[in-house]
Symmetry: C2
Subunit: 351 residues, 2 copies
């Protein structure tokens, strides 16, 4: 009578059992474990009959019933600053794929990098009884993480790291170093950094890697040449304007720790009538799909975003098995494009 979605979809273990004249537990065991537990639960013949009927009736186990009993939901909670940040969206795609492969489903929520929202979203996920959390918006001060540890909530970090906790990230220090090496080699001696948000390891590590390598190459750079900013385009533009209007000698190259910030900085340069790549080199980070397609293609550090997401799933899986996995840092690669190579190219052409 009910017109709910039961167009045959609601066939239960019990139904199968009744139809086969066998006990539900037998059906469960057969369908449950590939063949490890199945052996000993039923004869090969019965097992086949069970599987056959299950297929025929389109049986699909009820996950809520199962988790009620097993106390595991096969649900993963993912918290990100915002999904509309392309970088996090791609990491989430990696999570989505990888978790499906191991029989988990992922849930994602935005925290907007606001500590209250982080807490609220985590509580929402725990209320849904997720088995574990993948946290993509960790702040370096990490009070929340300690709290989660105390509450014995299984979690791993992704994208940003905090020492002492398992995490899947890009090796951002190396990424920063790559940029410093590149710009130095291109002959730049006066540079500025758009450093991102100081609470994010991505920003801090990329900046630190850059500065360390820069100085070890013999370069000088003062703290005034490092501007912290939001990760988005508007933040990059503001930071770019600040750099250009500082009254200090204009840098010949700018490293923005994020492609969007780099795009914003390009806007600021252009607004001053400066040509990106010729007057001022710009380098971004993440190599988002846009970087290569911009009117002036952007040199950027490629970070394996989808793989970071996939790795995070492996890590949380390990945590759920009771292990204490080490942080994983994936290798970045520098892609040099016109935004930092145009001048060299122009000089070549001049010869």
């Amino acid at each position: 009578m009910k017109e709910k979605a039961d167009g045959g979809g609601t066939v239960t273990l019990k139904d199968l059992a009744r139809e086969l004249g066998v006990h539900p537990s037998t059906v469960s065991r057969v369908l449950h474990s590939g063949s490890d537990v199945a052996k000993g639960a039923a004869s090969a013949a019965t097992a086949e009959r069970v599987r056959e009927l299950a297929r025929k009736r389109g049986y699909s186990p009820d996950p809520q019933a199962a988790s009620l009993r097993t106390r595991r939901t096969k649900l993963l909670g993912v918290i990100v600053p915002r999904l509309s940040d392309l970088v996090l969206a791609i990491m989430y795609e990696g999570i989505d794929e990888a978790s499906a492969e191991v029989g988990y489903s992922a849930f994602v929520m935005n925290s907007r990098d606001d500590p209250n929202e982080q807490r609220r979203k985590i509580d929402l996920m725990l209320a849904r009884r997720v088995d574990g959390l993948i946290i993509g918006d960790a702040h370096l001060d990490g009070g929340l993480l300690q709290e989660l540890t105390d509450r014995k909530v299984p979690f791993v970090l992704m994208n940003r790291r905090v020492t002492g906790y398992p995490s899947a990230t890009c090796d951002d220090v190396v990424g920063g170093e790559l940029v410093a090496g590149h710009l130095w080699k291109m002959g730049h001696r006066q540079v500025a950094v758009i450093a991102g948000e100081p609470y994010a390891s991505t920003a801090v590590d990329r900046t630190a890697g850059f500065l360390d390598r820069w100085r070890s190459l013999g370069g000088t750079i003062s703290d005034d040449d490092v501007v912290w900013s939001r990760f988005d385009t508007a933040g990059g533009r503001e930071a770019g304007e600040k750099i250009l209007s500082s009254g200090r000698p204009r840098p010949t190259a700018i490293f923005a720790v994020n492609d969007f910030a780099a795009i914003g900085a390009m806007g600021a340069l252009r607004a001053r009538g400066l040509t990106v790549g010729l007057d001022v080199a710009v380098v971004g980070y993440n190599d988002t799909s846009l970087a290569a397609e911009l009117p002036i293609p952007l040199t950027s550090v490629h970070s394996p975003m989808a793989d970071i997401g996939r790795t995070a799933v492996q890590l949380i899986q390990a945590v759920l098995r009771g292990e204490k996995p080490e942080p994983v840092q994936l290798e970045p690669t520098l892609f040099v494009r016109e935004s930092s190579a145009a001048r060299a190219a122009a000089e070549m052409a001049a010869n």
Copy 2:
């Protein structure tokens, strides 16, 4: 002995009942319904004691247990072509917020616009027993949708529409018309359209709106000036190259039905030494956050993406109540920027 996440988190209805010397069902009724059913279930005094203890013990109901009983999971499944498409990511943010407000949680998966994946992902969501689906990747041929209807699966469309099904979209026809009107007014007479994927209503409607208005204004445009393409930057670039190398007179304006495609087209123009805005006007669609921040800011039709997501949640809510809601089309707004206004500005300046 178990070291699971039960740091007090696992307090059940039964625990509360025992501690209060009252029956679990009483506790359930008190905590369940704000005050409608609660009245009659317990005295005001008892109700208060229950609520008090629940708060004190940090009681949080087990959703799987509840849905096992109620046959409703309060879960919404969302299917999008890809979450790394900024447009869909923002719509999803709207869904996420709106669904949380009504006590639902949303799940999202990518289909990559591949019919097999669409089907697979839908099955995954139904296996998770979502109460309803929000489909963001509907194809105009809509075989899948008919199938879902037959299976009595509650769903609504978002982003793209298909006649006959409830949907939350931007009024893309009007959006296309706005662009035609703008370009015509700017004096363009030779234009081309990068039309997107022919299976998506967004592409078809925007293109149709543009063409209809263009012709009704007296403009002419041949089918050869309409190139179908992928929605991403690379697709836009290819389409742009095709337009420029067609041997036909070069258009003075290009309308790409998607910002990313527009950016790709800008790349193609630039590669030919043409200046966007001066030599060729470019207009995009969606007004993604990048549009305004590009080196040459992009004229774009703003579509209220987050609101579309929120609306989709309202619609599925209605469907779940057994209603048959009408499609909702939200108003687009044209934002004129340098990519289509530079020439006019330059001419002004010349006087």
